[in-house]
């Protein structure tokens, strides 16, 4: 009875292992996981929410102790399969912090990787815009444990301090 109660009332488990392309090579989460892993889903040509989330995260990493920083990494998944290459996403993420990992893949690989986290995106044609398209996407920093399970998250991160606090809480 107690088991049944626990089973029916347990929080949903999100996340898991995934693999994508990092700089031309396969990158498997389970082979590279740290104690705490931040995950953000976006695209490199996003001018507003993605670079803000990444720069707030980079500032947060600077506020950690060396010991804390050893146990945490940030993974940026670009969902722009058509315009971002594995190399360009890696370079992009790296500039915010040398420890940030930029990944991408084919549409099928990206979809398979982000689905377990409840993240989603829609590519929308925008002929009036110079880019010709925009991508609406989940704006959330997920905090994953070593197994890739979501232990916490921040919707639309708007400050470095908020991210620092969550990292320290979950380390």
């Amino acid at each position: 009875m107690a088991f049944l109660l626990w089973y029916t009332q347990r929080p949903p488990t999100m996340g898991g292992d995934f693999k994508l392309n990092h700089n031309g090579k396969t990158w498997q989460f389970s082979e590279n996981a740290k104690k705490l892993n931040l995950l953000y889903v976006g695209y490199a040509k996003c001018p507003d929410v993605c670079p803000m989330a990444l720069s707030y995260s980079a500032q947060a990493f600077k506020q950690l102790t060396d010991k804390e920083r050893e146990n945490v990494q940030l993974i940026f998944i670009s969902v722009d399969a058509e315009n971002d290459t594995a190399e360009s996403v890696s370079v992009y993420a790296h500039q915010f912090n040398p420890e940030f990992i930029g990944l991408t893949g084919t549409t099928a690989e990206i979809d398979a990787a982000i689905k377990p986290f409840g993240a989603s995106y829609i590519v929308e044609k925008d002929p009036k815009s110079y880019l010709g398209y925009s991508i609406s996407h989940t704006d959330r920093v997920f905090f994953l444990n070593k197994k890739g399970i979501v232990v916490d998250s921040i919707q639309s991160p708007r400050s470095a301090d908020e991210i620092t606090t969550k990292i320290k809480e979950n380390l």
């Binding site: 490199a44 040509k45 996003c46 001018p47 507003d48 929410v49 670079p51 803000m52 720069s55 980079a58 500032q59 600077k62 971002d84 360009s88 996403v89 890696s90 370079v91 992009y92 993420a93 500039q95 915010f96 912090n97 930029g102 989603s120 995106y121 829609i122 929308e124 925008d126 009036k128 815009s129 110079y130 880019l131 925009s134 609406s136 996407h137 989940t138 704006d139 639309s156 708007r158």
Partner: protein, 152 residues
């Protein structure tokens, strides 16, 4: 003679003296330095309408970028989306803030390297008239200068 000099001075100064003052002021005007791996960056600031009439503002040109647009970040079905904003309408004595997660200027494809600490001339059309405003280029990631500790 004095009268002639005075007349000449007045004529020379008059375009300045009687130039129409811009209906808007901009504070905290900033553009993030472009980074590798993307061709897009963003600009923000607070545009204040100092007049007692509504003003419209559109973004025209920012050298050395090939294209500039005003966009708005909006939440659609739990996702963040962007939509183009044709013009900003600012009511009398009010401000419009261009900020992360809201209205912002998008800048695409710089034709030369744009570095932090540069000042860029931003052409805005205010009530149909093109005016130039200074925007400061700032780094994407704050690079705090290392503190120097002197050991004795």
């Amino acid at each position: 003679m004095k009268a002639i000099v005075l007349a000449a001075l007045t004529a020379a100064l008059s375009p300045v003296a009687f130039a129409a003052k811009s209906p808007v002021t901009i504070s905290d005007a900033r553009i993030f330095a472009p980074i590798k791996g993307t061709n897009a960056t963003a600009g923000y600031g607070v545009i204040t309408n100092t007049t007692d009439k509504e003003v419209t503002v559109t973004v025209e040109r920012i050298e050395p970028f090939k294209a500039v647009e005003m966009h708005e970040t909006v939440e659609k079905d739990g996702r963040m989306a962007m939509q183009k904003v044709e013009k900003l309408t600012i009511p009398a004595k009010k401000s419009a803030e261009l900020k992360p997660g809201g209205n912002h200027i998008m800048l695409f494809d710089p034709t030369r390297e744009v570095k932090a600490d540069e000042t860029l001339k931003v052409s805005l059309k205010v009530n149909g008239k093109v005016e130039s405003f200074d925007f400061k280029v700032i780094p994407r990631v704050e690079t705090k200068k290392e503190e120097h500790h002197h050991h004795h």
